[in-house]
Symmetry: C2
Subunit: 105 residues, 2 copies
DNA sequence: CTTTGACACCTAGCATAACTAGGTATACCA
DNA sequence: TGGTATACCTAGTTATGCTAGGTGTCAAAG
């Protein structure tokens, strides 16, 4: 994606993806690419620290999956994370409508 | 506004406001507040450096107004700035549609 | 006539978060 | 055996909005 545009909006994306079911980091990257039809093709160095940050904030919790030889850290939203998702959604709607109103589109 | 949400989108707002007519920095702040219905109430420390940056990039040019005892630096978009506005607009549309698609709203 | 607040400009330094660029390791296919 | 995809990690860079301070003009209120 382009530059700094994503700043402050990534949390919303991650919480939205994980609200539809637990997933590990690499799968989140693929889900973002798929859902956005290729617009969000984000590097691991973006996603992994963001997931850690959200877990530190208590919005996600993670467990190591054991049903595979390849280790996977499975993330899912906490109740606090689900609540955060709805507030982030309304904030996002207000934000993009404010932009559209300002730009006149 | 909230946190980092604006990062990467301020240039679009400034170019859009100034595309509707030259204005000085303080007036730009008021225009943003008015157009966004209060959503974008941005401090001078955000606007002035941003205007300087856009001028450095050749997207705006400025002149000091002389018809007032109070000095005002009047900004207006250059041709390059007008072109940048249209590309930023299409990028913004792609961006917010990608977010909405990803979030599912 | 002094003070307060709106107007109008400026910038050094801070904070945040996405990204770069490196690393480790497993699995599978040619 | 080598390459590619999967899957994780993090130190450091970078970009930019914002904080917090500064200067000065002007008008209205006290």
């Amino acid at each position: 994606m382009v530059g700094e545009a994503l700043k402050g909006h990534l949390d919303l994306l991650l919480l939205a993806v994980l609200a539809d079911g637990p997933a590990h980091g690499y799968a989140v990257i693929e889900a973002l690419r798929a859902r956005s039809k290729g617009a969000f093709d984000l590097p691991e160095g973006t996603i992994y620290p963001a997931l850690h940050r959200l877990e530190d904030q208590g919005l996600l919790k993670s467990t190591w999956s054991e049903d595979s030889a390849r280790r996977k850290r499975i993330y899912q939203p906490t109740p606090k994370g689900q609540q955060a998702l709805t507030t982030r959604q309304t904030e996002w709607k207000q934000f993009y409508k404010a932009i559209n109103a300002t730009v006149g589109i």
